[in-house]
Structures are given as C-alpha cells and as structure tokens.
C-alpha cells in the first residue's frame, strides 16, 4: 500500500512522529511555532505539542544552535531548525567547535545527539544571500553526519535514524523540493549510511544529491532517448560518503559525471571525483567531469539564475562529453 503526499508533508509527518514517540524530542528555531515555519514544514505542530516542545527562538542562530547542543548533552533530543544554510554561517562556530568536536575532545565521555535541519539551495530567485549550498563544507567535518533527502521516502524516514544516532546529524532540505509530490510506500524504511541507485543504467554514472536529483533523472531520460543508458546515483548521505555504491556504479559504467549545486571549487563534486580517481582510476574510460553552479554570487533575475545553476541540459551535455 502507498499514499500520495508531498515532501513538506513527509517532513512534517516525520517530526510529528518523533515528537509523539519520544518525550525528549523537541523542535527549536526561528518561527517554527506561531508562524508555522518559514517553509510551512512545522505548521500545526505548535497547536499539537505546545510551546515547550515547539519553541520559537529569537534571531540568534549561534545562541540557539549552541543551546541545542547543550540540551542534547543534557539528555534531550533537540531538532534545531536553522532557517536556511545561509544563516547557519552565524551558527557555524557552535556546530564545528562544539558539536562536531565534543565527543572526541572529551575522550569519548560526552555525545551530542542533536539533529539540525536546514533549507539549502537556489532556484527561487531569492538572491545572493539566500541561495547558497554550503552542505559541502559540512560534509568535510569529522564528527558529524550529513544527510540530503531528495525523495519523499527520505524526507519521511531519515529523521528517525538521525535522532537515534548518538552524534550530531545535519539534514539539508533543498527548497525547491518542498512541493515535490510522490507516492510513499507504507512499509518502506531507509538507512542513513548508503547511497542509492535511483535509475539503473550501464553507459555512464550520474552521481548527484538533493536538489539536483530530479534534474539528473530528467537528463537520464533525455539521454535514454538518444541511446545512452545513464545510471543515476543519489548520494543521500554526504558524510560519510558511501564509496562502495559510487565505485560499483562507476566501475560498471566506466564513465561518470558528478552533479552538485555547490560552487564548483572545493565542492562535494570535487571530493567524489577525487575518490573515484583514488579508487577506480583504472576502470575509467574517460575523465570524470562535473556539473556545478557557476562561481558567481547567485543573481536574482530568473534567466541568470537558471544560467548559473546545473540544469538537465548541462548534464546531458556533460554525459555526452564523456563519449567525445
């Protein structure tokens, strides 16, 4: 059996379930309560669970993220919402210097079972200060896990294992996905350790995550029409990367394109490429290539934003380039 719902609803169901099954869980963030959540993800939860468990915070990203770390240390299971990844820069010190280091630095004495959710990505003409994709920075940090749900299934089911994890887990929700609709099987479960092949193929691997998954699937569809069978791998977990699944796909297809909405330099795409070179260099029939966001602050105008971002057309071109 399955149901039809959207990504936003799936996230909300996951939060509702967490609040219901575990009294230690609470939500905290800017406008998660009365306003109903900037992206309406938490809408209705304040009425259902009350202001102790759905906490509106002041505009104090560093402060309330740090408070979430403290609350986790104190035995609770906070789910902190940072409105977007852009504002998470203000909280970064706490995430890096406290949350990520704490377990190791204390010689294993303390753990920080904290979940931080944030919206990421561009595509809605909200300009240079609201369109970043900094999940790559987080993906480089020892001590944390980083998730990027790109499907209804992952939106619905990644939260529970994230909360069960004894260490900090960051969840990146791409803003263009909130309205994504789909079927959700009643009996599905997901892990938070593996990448997943979303479309099998044999000629080229398209390795991607988050907001670029749909574009990659579109590209694969177009390529299929032109006789190229592309396999689409959804990383899902940006840290730790599931090398096995990536390498199996690349070794099979012998050609690969990495698609990543982050700026090109020092990106997750670069990391995936480096690992491919390290691990399956001799299986490659062509240089790995990547499709990333152009290295500009995101322009507001629609056509310029479109030009800056990865698009299905660019992915198609990059895959074809592998056969040149």
């Amino acid at each position: 059996m399955s149901r039809h719902l959207n990504y936003r609803e799936a996230l909300r169901e996951a939060l509702r379930e967490a609040l219901t099954v575990d009294p230690r869980v609470f939500l905290m963030g800017e406008d998660v309560g009365r306003y109903g959540g900037t992206y309406a993800v938490t809408k209705g939860l304040l009425d259902e669970f009350g202001p102790e468990r759905v906490r509106d915070t002041p505009l104090s990203e560093l402060g309330f993220t740090g408070a979430g770390i403290g609350a986790a240390l104190g035995g609770l299971r906070p789910v902190v919402e940072v409105m977007t990844v852009n504002f998470s820069l203000l909280a970064l010190d706490q995430i890096v210097n406290t949350a990520a280091l704490y377990h190791y630095m204390s010689g294993g004495q303390f753990s920080v079972p904290l979940v931080i959710r944030m919206a990421t990505g561009a595509g809605r003409q909200v300009g240079a200060q609201h369109s970043h994709s900094f999940e790559g920075w987080y993906a480089g940090l020892p001590g944390i896990k980083v998730l990027a749900p790109a499907t209804i299934e992952d939106a619905r089911h990644m939260l529970a294992p994230a909360l069960a994890d004894p260490d900090p887990v960051l969840i990146f929700e791409h803003t263009v996905l909130y309205n994504l609709e789909g079927e959700l099987a009643d009996d599905c479960t997901v892990d938070i350790c593996s990448a997943k092949v979303r479309r099998p193929g044999g000629d080229a691997s398209i390795i991607t995550y988050g907001g670029s998954l749909q574009k990659s699937l579109q590209a694969a569809e177009i390529l299929a029409g032109e006789g190229i069978s592309a396999e689409v791998v959804d990383l899902r977990v940006l840290r730790p990367l599931d090398d096995a699944t990536i390498m199996a796909s690349v070794a099979k297809c012998r050609r690969a394109v990495v698609v990543d909405e982050g700026w090109r330099s020092v990106s997750i795409a670069a990391e995936v490429m480096a690992r491919i070179v390290e691990q399956v260099f001799y299986e490659l029939d062509a240089p790995v290539s990547r499709v990333c966001t152009e290295e500009v602050p995101m322009p507001y105008a629609r056509h310029m934003e479109d030009a800056a971002l990865p698009q299905a057309g660019k992915i198609v071109a990059a895959v074809k380039g592998l056969f040149a």
């Binding site: 002041p58 300009g127 200060q129 105008a301």
Partner: protein, 357 residues
C-alpha cells in the same frame, strides 16, 4: 477582544514646518505607498519574484529619518528598503527595473527587491542577513571619522571629499527589532560606542520579527535599555508620526555629527502587510492590525496638515496622482528594460582591473 500590541494614540498637534517641507514629507510617504501597492500587485502577476517585503505602514520612519540627513551621509538598510532607496533619491524606474530583474535596475537585476544599492546616494544596500548591516555601518563610520579627523586625505574616500570644508559624514543604519537579538547588534553597538563613531542606529521596531512578537523573543522589551548597556544615548519615538520622527532624527543627526558619538533611535511602528509574500499571518489578530491602521502615518499626517490649512484636498489628490503617475512611468520603464545577457554571468564577480574602487 484584547489586543497584544495596542497602537499609540493617533499623532496630533501642529506641524512645525513650512509648506514645502511639510508637503515633501507627505509626497514621499505617498510615493512609497503607491510604489509598494503596485509592487504587491506585480508580484501577484509574476513580474516581481523572490522575496518581497513591504514597508506599508512604516513610511513615517524612513521618510522622517532620511529627510533629516545630508547627501554626504551613508545609509545602510535591510531587505525592507524600497522606502530608503526611493527617499534617498533612487529613480523609481531604476528601482522597479531592479525588482523586475532588468539590466536597467540599480544592480543590473542581480539584486532584486532585497538588494538595492546606489553609489551616488551612498546607499550601501539592501542587506538580507538580519543584523548584517550593523557592523558594516560601524566600519563606514570609522572611515568617516578617521578621514574627518584629518589623519587621512578626504579626497581618498569613496566619492571624494565632502564639500570643501571637513564636515562630519554620519552613517544611518536601519534595522528591525528582530536584529536586536543577533550577536551582530551587540558587537556593533559596543564598537560604535567604544570608538565614539558617528553612527545613527535607527531601529525600526514594528514589534514583530516575521511571526514572532517582540515579547516572545526579547527578555527586555525596552530597547533603549539595550543601548544604555553600551553607554549609548537612546530615544524612543512614535514611528507613526512623521513629524516626531523627523524632529528626533534632526536632533540626533546633529548630535552625532557634532562628534558626540553614536546614538540609538527606537522608532516604534507597525507593518500593515504580511512579512513577505509567503506569510499567512497566523501570529497576529486582525483587530490589532486595524487598530494600528487607524493611526496610519499618511492619513493622520495629511489630516493634521489639512486641519492647519497647510494642505487642501486638491493638493493631496494632486500629490497622490503624481505618485501614481510616477509609479506608472516606473513600471513602463521596467517593462521596457532589457535582460542582462547570459554571457555577462561572470562579469563583476571581481572588480575589473583599473576600476577605481
């Protein structure tokens, strides 16, 4: 029905200005109002996109303060800054074109509604990070202070010397009540007060940060007490009264300009519209909005002017019509604007070599 945030009594009393200034204030409030009503409509029509934050209801604040400043002063504003750009002197067509994303916009269509910049009027954005403009204002004031004190040649500063004589340039920094909770506020206030910099902090306190009311996010809701904790003088002003704002800002600007150090103005106001175009307004009562609308800055002020005989209904209608016509021209200008060529995508990531910074 009880109202969480009662409105002040409607402003009253004489308007101590001669007619040109009295009408200029009104005209600018009308220009903002009509521009933004149109912008909301154009958002619905898909001409403007992204985030759009309207100033409707708060016009007295921007108009009152900006009319108290000098052309050489610096302005730092937030994402809710159409008023500031306009009153400061940005052409409405250029502003509208920016919101359309057209090349004829002040930032070539790259900024949009939240990122209006204007070098000629010294408008340093348009900052969409809450609190982000505060440290910037401190630095601009530091530059102004260091140069006016003669340790630096004035000519080296952006846009050249301030007139002939050395005259203190001040920096007006606008920010919302929500920004007061940010660490950036605290650090900026301390620096400005410590170094006695010419900053006029203008807190546009509309009692809400998005959907969170002031008392639900501040343990101390008297924002002037915050300023005291930095040893900074502070005044609270009825931000629904353009006269009160203008007079307070004139006094404050003069003090800051005289070298007395920074000053904090709390301008108590109210936003009549939703926070942005995505806001269902679940967090406040319609009755509260209505009560504040009853002391709306435009009709109370025009009422006072009329009562004093400084304004006739015909004059009011003429000003309003002029504002409407200006908006219509601005829309035409924006519509006729062009799209930046995609080939220019990478242009201006870095300053072109040889350009004077």
């Amino acid at each position: 029905m009880s109202i969480d945030h009662p409105a002040p009594p409607p402003p009253s009393g004489p308007v101590p200005y001669d007619k040109p200034l009295a009408l200029a204030l009104l005209a600018d409030m009308l220009r903002i109002r009509r521009l933004e009503e149109k912008a909301a409509e154009l958002y619905g029509a898909g001409k403007i996109r992204g985030f759009l934050h309207l100033y409707i209801g708060e016009e007295a604040v921007g108009v009152g303060v900006l009319h108290a400043l000098q052309p050489e002063d610096n302005i730092v504003a937030t994402y809710r800054e159409h008023a500031h750009a306009l009153v400061r002197g940005m052409d409405m067509g250029v502003l509208m074109a920016e919101m359309f994303g057209k090349r004829e916009g002040c930032a070539r269509g790259r900024g949009g509604s939240m990122h209006l910049f204007d070098r000629t009027t010294r408008l340093f954005g348009g900052n969409a990070i809450v609190g982000g403009g505060l440290p910037l204002a401190v630095g601009l004031a530091l530059a102004a202070k260091m140069s006016s004190e003669g340790s630096l040649p004035q000519g080296n500063l952006l846009s050249g010397a301030v007139g002939g004589a050395v005259k203190q340039r001040i920096t007006a920094c606008f920010f919302g009540d929500g920004a007061v909770a940010e660490g950036a506020f605290h650090e900026a206030m301390n620096l400005a007060a410590l170094w006695q910099l010419p900053v006029l902090f203008c807190c546009e306190n509309n009692l809400y940060a998005m959907g969170t009311a002031l008392e639900r996010y501040e343990s101390q809701t008297d924002l002037c007490v915050k300023a005291a904790s930095y040893n900074m003088p502070a005044r609270s002003v009825d931000g629904m009264d353009v006269v009160a704002v203008h007079r307070a800002a004139e006094d404050a600007a003069a003090e800051v300009r005289s070298g007395a150090g920074p000053l904090f103005l709390e301008l108590r106001t109210y936003r009549f519209r939703a926070h942005s175009m995505f806001d269902a307004e679940l967090y406040r009562e319609k009755a509260e909005i209505d009560e504040w609308k009853s002391c709306g800055p435009i009709h109370t002020y025009s009422g006072r002017l009329k009562a004093e005989g400084k304004l006739t209904e015909e004059e009011f209608l003429a000003l309003d019509a002029a504002a409407g016509a200006e908006v219509a021209r601005a829309v035409d200008f924006a519509e006729a604007g062009t799209w930046e060529p995609v080939a220019d995508l990478l242009k201006d990531v870095h300053t072109a070599v040889g350009a004077a910074p």
